[in-house]
Symmetry: C2
Subunit: 165 residues, 2 copies
Protein backbone atom coordinates (compact mmCIF):
# COMPACT_ATOMS: atom_id res chain seq x y z
CA UNK A 1 0.00 0.00 0.00
CA UNK A 2 2.98 2.35 0.39
CA UNK A 3 3.10 3.22 -3.27
CA UNK A 4 -0.59 4.11 -3.33
CA UNK A 5 -0.82 6.05 -0.06
CA UNK A 6 2.30 8.03 -0.90
CA UNK A 7 0.35 9.77 -3.67
CA UNK A 8 -1.90 11.43 -1.07
CA UNK A 9 -0.91 14.69 0.60
CA UNK A 10 -1.92 16.64 3.70
CA UNK A 11 -4.79 18.26 1.85
CA UNK A 12 -6.22 14.83 1.05
CA UNK A 13 -5.86 13.88 4.71
CA UNK A 14 -7.66 17.07 5.78
CA UNK A 15 -10.59 16.36 3.47
CA UNK A 16 -10.80 12.68 4.42
CA UNK A 17 -10.66 13.69 8.09
CA UNK A 18 -13.63 16.00 7.47
CA UNK A 19 -15.57 13.02 6.01
CA UNK A 20 -14.68 10.96 9.10
CA UNK A 21 -15.79 13.80 11.40
CA UNK A 22 -19.13 13.98 9.53
CA UNK A 23 -19.55 10.23 10.11
CA UNK A 24 -18.94 10.54 13.84
CA UNK A 25 -21.23 13.58 14.11
CA UNK A 26 -23.99 11.64 12.37
CA UNK A 27 -23.89 8.94 15.05
CA UNK A 28 -23.54 11.22 18.06
CA UNK A 29 -26.21 13.66 16.81
CA UNK A 30 -28.94 11.01 16.76
CA UNK A 31 -27.99 7.52 15.75
CA UNK A 32 -27.65 7.98 11.99
CA UNK A 33 -25.43 5.64 9.99
CA UNK A 34 -21.69 6.12 10.72
CA UNK A 35 -20.75 7.33 7.27
CA UNK A 36 -19.63 10.69 5.89
CA UNK A 37 -18.47 11.96 2.51
CA UNK A 38 -16.86 15.06 1.05
CA UNK A 39 -16.72 15.91 -2.66
CA UNK A 40 -13.87 18.29 -3.46
CA UNK A 41 -12.10 19.69 -6.49
CA UNK A 42 -8.67 21.33 -6.38
CA UNK A 43 -8.83 21.00 -2.60
CA UNK A 44 -12.08 23.00 -2.33
CA UNK A 45 -15.18 21.30 -0.89
CA UNK A 46 -18.07 21.20 -3.37
CA UNK A 47 -20.47 19.30 -1.10
CA UNK A 48 -20.67 17.19 2.04
CA UNK A 49 -22.96 14.29 2.89
CA UNK A 50 -23.97 12.20 5.88
CA UNK A 51 -25.92 8.96 5.80
CA UNK A 52 -29.67 9.79 6.01
CA UNK A 53 -31.24 6.38 5.34
CA UNK A 54 -33.26 6.15 8.55
CA UNK A 55 -33.88 9.89 8.95
CA UNK A 56 -35.24 10.26 5.41
CA UNK A 57 -36.75 6.76 4.95
CA UNK A 58 -34.53 6.48 1.88
CA UNK A 59 -32.38 3.37 1.36
CA UNK A 60 -30.37 5.26 -1.28
CA UNK A 61 -29.44 8.16 1.04
CA UNK A 62 -25.89 7.01 1.72
CA UNK A 63 -23.36 9.75 2.46
CA UNK A 64 -21.82 9.50 -1.02
CA UNK A 65 -25.17 9.69 -2.83
CA UNK A 66 -26.21 12.70 -0.74
CA UNK A 67 -22.89 14.45 -1.42
CA UNK A 68 -22.87 13.67 -5.15
CA UNK A 69 -26.46 14.87 -5.61
CA UNK A 70 -25.69 18.09 -3.73
CA UNK A 71 -22.45 18.73 -5.62
CA UNK A 72 -24.09 18.14 -9.01
CA UNK A 73 -27.04 20.32 -8.10
CA UNK A 74 -24.68 23.15 -7.13
CA UNK A 75 -22.62 22.74 -10.30
CA UNK A 76 -25.70 22.42 -12.51
CA UNK A 77 -24.19 19.37 -14.19
CA UNK A 78 -24.62 15.61 -13.92
CA UNK A 79 -20.91 14.84 -13.79
CA UNK A 80 -18.05 15.70 -11.43
CA UNK A 81 -15.03 15.77 -13.73
CA UNK A 82 -11.76 16.30 -11.85
CA UNK A 83 -13.37 15.92 -8.42
CA UNK A 84 -12.21 13.57 -5.66
CA UNK A 85 -14.65 11.66 -3.46
CA UNK A 86 -13.53 11.35 0.19
CA UNK A 87 -15.47 8.64 2.06
CA UNK A 88 -15.08 7.68 5.71
CA UNK A 89 -15.59 4.03 4.68
CA UNK A 90 -15.03 2.41 1.28
CA UNK A 91 -18.16 3.21 -0.77
CA UNK A 92 -20.64 0.30 -0.97
CA UNK A 93 -21.34 -1.08 -4.49
CA UNK A 94 -24.31 1.31 -4.90
CA UNK A 95 -22.13 4.30 -4.09
CA UNK A 96 -19.12 3.05 -6.04
CA UNK A 97 -21.34 2.68 -9.11
CA UNK A 98 -22.91 6.11 -8.52
CA UNK A 99 -19.36 7.47 -8.40
CA UNK A 100 -18.55 5.74 -11.70
CA UNK A 101 -21.60 7.44 -13.27
CA UNK A 102 -20.49 10.80 -11.83
CA UNK A 103 -17.02 10.29 -13.36
CA UNK A 104 -14.73 11.97 -10.78
CA UNK A 105 -10.93 11.54 -10.83
CA UNK A 106 -10.46 9.35 -7.73
CA UNK A 107 -11.86 7.96 -4.48
CA UNK A 108 -10.08 8.27 -1.12
CA UNK A 109 -11.44 6.26 1.80
CA UNK A 110 -10.59 5.31 5.39
CA UNK A 111 -12.26 2.15 6.73
CA UNK A 112 -12.84 -1.01 4.68
CA UNK A 113 -16.00 -2.94 3.76
CA UNK A 114 -14.86 -5.57 6.27
CA UNK A 115 -14.64 -2.91 8.98
CA UNK A 116 -18.26 -1.94 8.20
CA UNK A 117 -19.29 -5.60 8.19
CA UNK A 118 -17.78 -6.01 11.66
CA UNK A 119 -20.39 -3.58 13.03
CA UNK A 120 -23.32 -5.09 11.12
CA UNK A 121 -23.42 -3.51 7.66
CA UNK A 122 -23.95 -5.46 4.43
CA UNK A 123 -21.40 -3.65 2.23
CA UNK A 124 -19.12 -6.72 2.01
CA UNK A 125 -22.08 -9.08 1.54
CA UNK A 126 -23.38 -6.95 -1.34
CA UNK A 127 -19.94 -6.85 -2.99
CA UNK A 128 -20.01 -10.66 -2.81
CA UNK A 129 -23.57 -10.76 -4.22
CA UNK A 130 -22.56 -8.62 -7.21
CA UNK A 131 -19.53 -10.81 -7.87
CA UNK A 132 -21.74 -13.88 -8.31
CA UNK A 133 -23.15 -14.98 -11.62
CA UNK A 134 -26.69 -13.52 -11.90
CA UNK A 135 -28.11 -17.06 -11.86
CA UNK A 136 -26.50 -17.67 -8.46
CA UNK A 137 -27.58 -14.49 -6.67
CA UNK A 138 -29.83 -14.74 -3.63
CA UNK A 139 -32.25 -12.11 -4.92
CA UNK A 140 -34.29 -13.58 -7.83
CA UNK A 141 -33.69 -11.66 -11.07
CA UNK A 142 -36.09 -12.70 -13.85
CA UNK A 143 -36.21 -11.63 -17.51
CA UNK A 144 -39.31 -11.23 -19.70
CA UNK A 145 -40.67 -9.29 -22.71
CA UNK A 146 -37.21 -8.90 -24.23
CA UNK A 147 -38.36 -7.82 -27.71
CA UNK A 148 -40.72 -5.17 -26.32
CA UNK A 149 -38.03 -3.88 -23.97
CA UNK A 150 -35.71 -3.11 -26.91
CA UNK A 151 -38.15 -0.49 -28.23
CA UNK A 152 -37.22 2.37 -25.84
CA UNK A 153 -33.50 1.70 -26.43
CA UNK A 154 -34.08 1.91 -30.18
CA UNK A 155 -36.12 5.09 -29.75
CA UNK A 156 -33.19 6.57 -27.79
CA UNK A 157 -30.67 5.63 -30.49
CA UNK A 158 -32.82 7.47 -33.06
CA UNK A 159 -33.65 10.49 -30.89
CA UNK A 160 -32.14 13.77 -32.13
CA UNK A 161 -32.61 15.40 -28.69
CA UNK A 162 -30.80 12.83 -26.57
CA UNK A 163 -28.03 13.96 -24.20
CA UNK A 164 -25.51 11.18 -23.57
CA UNK A 165 -24.30 10.59 -20.01
CA UNK B 1 -34.47 -19.55 -19.24
CA UNK B 2 -37.77 -21.49 -19.49
CA UNK B 3 -37.76 -22.51 -15.87
CA UNK B 4 -37.24 -18.94 -14.71
CA UNK B 5 -39.66 -17.14 -17.00
CA UNK B 6 -42.39 -19.69 -16.30
CA UNK B 7 -42.65 -18.32 -12.75
CA UNK B 8 -43.91 -14.97 -14.09
CA UNK B 9 -47.61 -14.42 -14.81
CA UNK B 10 -49.72 -11.96 -16.79
CA UNK B 11 -49.73 -9.50 -13.91
CA UNK B 12 -45.93 -9.43 -13.96
CA UNK B 13 -46.03 -8.83 -17.70
CA UNK B 14 -48.52 -5.97 -17.26
CA UNK B 15 -46.27 -4.26 -14.69
CA UNK B 16 -43.10 -4.79 -16.72
CA UNK B 17 -44.89 -3.47 -19.79
CA UNK B 18 -45.75 -0.32 -17.80
CA UNK B 19 -42.03 0.11 -16.98
CA UNK B 20 -41.19 -0.27 -20.67
CA UNK B 21 -43.88 2.27 -21.63
CA UNK B 22 -42.41 4.74 -19.10
CA UNK B 23 -39.01 4.25 -20.74
CA UNK B 24 -40.37 4.99 -24.21
CA UNK B 25 -42.34 8.01 -22.96
CA UNK B 26 -39.20 9.39 -21.35
CA UNK B 27 -37.41 9.41 -24.70
CA UNK B 28 -40.27 10.71 -26.82
CA UNK B 29 -41.22 13.40 -24.28
CA UNK B 30 -37.83 15.11 -24.48
CA UNK B 31 -34.79 12.96 -24.87
CA UNK B 32 -34.49 11.56 -21.35
CA UNK B 33 -32.73 8.25 -20.76
CA UNK B 34 -34.66 5.23 -22.13
CA UNK B 35 -35.32 3.60 -18.79
CA UNK B 36 -38.45 3.10 -16.69
CA UNK B 37 -39.23 1.31 -13.44
CA UNK B 38 -42.28 0.24 -11.47
CA UNK B 39 -42.27 -0.83 -7.81
CA UNK B 40 -45.27 -3.00 -6.96
CA UNK B 41 -46.48 -5.18 -4.13
CA UNK B 42 -49.23 -7.77 -4.48
CA UNK B 43 -49.73 -6.51 -8.01
CA UNK B 44 -50.43 -2.93 -6.88
CA UNK B 45 -48.10 -0.14 -8.06
CA UNK B 46 -46.41 1.65 -5.14
CA UNK B 47 -44.34 4.02 -7.30
CA UNK B 48 -43.07 4.62 -10.82
CA UNK B 49 -39.81 6.15 -12.02
CA UNK B 50 -38.24 7.44 -15.21
CA UNK B 51 -34.58 8.27 -15.74
CA UNK B 52 -34.04 11.94 -14.81
CA UNK B 53 -30.21 12.19 -14.93
CA UNK B 54 -30.02 14.99 -17.49
CA UNK B 55 -33.26 16.72 -16.52
CA UNK B 56 -32.29 16.93 -12.84
CA UNK B 57 -28.48 17.18 -13.20
CA UNK B 58 -28.34 14.09 -10.97
CA UNK B 59 -26.18 11.11 -11.98
CA UNK B 60 -28.03 8.96 -9.40
CA UNK B 61 -31.50 9.69 -10.82
CA UNK B 62 -31.90 6.39 -12.63
CA UNK B 63 -35.46 5.11 -12.99
CA UNK B 64 -35.01 2.52 -10.23
CA UNK B 65 -33.55 5.01 -7.74
CA UNK B 66 -36.36 7.46 -8.46
CA UNK B 67 -39.01 4.74 -8.03
CA UNK B 68 -37.45 3.30 -4.84
CA UNK B 69 -37.13 6.72 -3.22
CA UNK B 70 -40.75 7.54 -4.08
CA UNK B 71 -42.07 4.18 -2.87
CA UNK B 72 -40.17 4.40 0.42
CA UNK B 73 -41.29 7.98 0.94
CA UNK B 74 -44.92 6.96 0.43
CA UNK B 75 -44.59 3.95 2.76
CA UNK B 76 -42.65 5.94 5.37
CA UNK B 77 -40.08 3.18 5.59
CA UNK B 78 -36.57 2.60 4.24
CA UNK B 79 -37.25 -0.93 3.03
CA UNK B 80 -39.59 -2.52 0.49
CA UNK B 81 -40.22 -5.96 1.92
CA UNK B 82 -42.31 -8.16 -0.36
CA UNK B 83 -42.17 -5.71 -3.27
CA UNK B 84 -41.10 -6.53 -6.83
CA UNK B 85 -38.98 -4.14 -8.93
CA UNK B 86 -39.95 -4.07 -12.64
CA UNK B 87 -37.21 -2.46 -14.78
CA UNK B 88 -37.33 -1.92 -18.52
CA UNK B 89 -33.60 -2.81 -18.65
CA UNK B 90 -31.56 -4.87 -16.17
CA UNK B 91 -30.69 -2.49 -13.33
CA UNK B 92 -27.12 -1.13 -13.51
CA UNK B 93 -24.82 -2.00 -10.57
CA UNK B 94 -25.81 1.20 -8.73
CA UNK B 95 -29.49 0.35 -9.01
CA UNK B 96 -29.00 -3.36 -8.30
CA UNK B 97 -27.17 -2.45 -5.10
CA UNK B 98 -29.84 0.12 -4.19
CA UNK B 99 -32.38 -2.65 -4.67
CA UNK B 100 -30.36 -4.93 -2.36
CA UNK B 101 -30.42 -2.21 0.32
CA UNK B 102 -34.20 -1.80 -0.17
CA UNK B 103 -34.64 -5.58 0.28
CA UNK B 104 -37.56 -6.34 -2.06
CA UNK B 105 -38.55 -9.91 -3.04
CA UNK B 106 -37.45 -9.96 -6.70
CA UNK B 107 -36.42 -8.04 -9.82
CA UNK B 108 -38.10 -8.48 -13.21
CA UNK B 109 -36.47 -6.87 -16.23
CA UNK B 110 -36.73 -6.72 -20.02
CA UNK B 111 -33.57 -5.69 -21.88
CA UNK B 112 -30.04 -6.71 -20.89
CA UNK B 113 -26.94 -4.70 -19.95
CA UNK B 114 -25.54 -5.65 -23.36
CA UNK B 115 -28.65 -4.21 -25.05
CA UNK B 116 -28.03 -0.94 -23.18
CA UNK B 117 -24.35 -1.03 -24.11
CA UNK B 118 -25.31 -1.38 -27.79
CA UNK B 119 -26.89 2.09 -27.68
CA UNK B 120 -24.03 3.69 -25.75
CA UNK B 121 -24.63 3.11 -22.03
CA UNK B 122 -21.94 2.00 -19.57
CA UNK B 123 -23.99 -0.51 -17.55
CA UNK B 124 -22.00 -3.49 -18.84
CA UNK B 125 -18.68 -1.64 -18.50
CA UNK B 126 -19.48 -0.79 -14.88
CA UNK B 127 -20.45 -4.40 -14.11
CA UNK B 128 -17.01 -5.35 -15.49
CA UNK B 129 -15.31 -2.63 -13.41
CA UNK B 130 -16.94 -3.90 -10.21
CA UNK B 131 -15.91 -7.47 -11.00
CA UNK B 132 -12.23 -6.46 -11.08
CA UNK B 133 -9.96 -6.57 -8.07
CA UNK B 134 -9.93 -3.04 -6.54
CA UNK B 135 -6.23 -2.75 -7.39
CA UNK B 136 -7.04 -3.27 -11.08
CA UNK B 137 -9.92 -0.82 -11.44
CA UNK B 138 -9.58 2.12 -13.81
CA UNK B 139 -10.79 4.63 -11.22
CA UNK B 140 -8.06 5.12 -8.57
CA UNK B 141 -9.28 4.08 -5.10
CA UNK B 142 -6.83 5.05 -2.34
CA UNK B 143 -6.92 4.28 1.38
CA UNK B 144 -5.67 6.49 4.24
CA UNK B 145 -6.27 7.30 7.94
CA UNK B 146 -7.51 3.79 8.67
CA UNK B 147 -7.28 4.01 12.47
CA UNK B 148 -9.14 7.34 12.59
CA UNK B 149 -11.81 6.02 10.24
CA UNK B 150 -12.67 3.20 12.65
CA UNK B 151 -13.86 5.71 15.27
CA UNK B 152 -17.33 6.44 13.78
CA UNK B 153 -17.92 2.71 13.27
CA UNK B 154 -17.05 2.07 16.92
CA UNK B 155 -19.30 4.95 18.00
CA UNK B 156 -22.14 3.34 16.03
CA UNK B 157 -21.58 -0.06 17.62
CA UNK B 158 -21.89 1.55 21.06
CA UNK B 159 -24.81 3.87 20.21
CA UNK B 160 -28.04 3.02 22.09
CA UNK B 161 -30.13 5.00 19.55
CA UNK B 162 -28.93 3.33 16.37
CA UNK B 163 -31.51 1.91 13.93
CA UNK B 164 -30.04 -0.94 11.87
CA UNK B 165 -30.75 -1.06 8.15
Amino acid sequence: MELITSTLDENDHRLLRRAIDLATENVTAGGGGPFGCVVARDGVILAEGKNRVVEDNDPTAHAEIVAIRTACSRLGHFQLEGAVIYSSTLPCPMCLSAILWARPAAIVYGASAEDAAAVGFDDAAFYAELSRDPSERKLPVLQALHAEALEPLRAWAKSPTRVEY
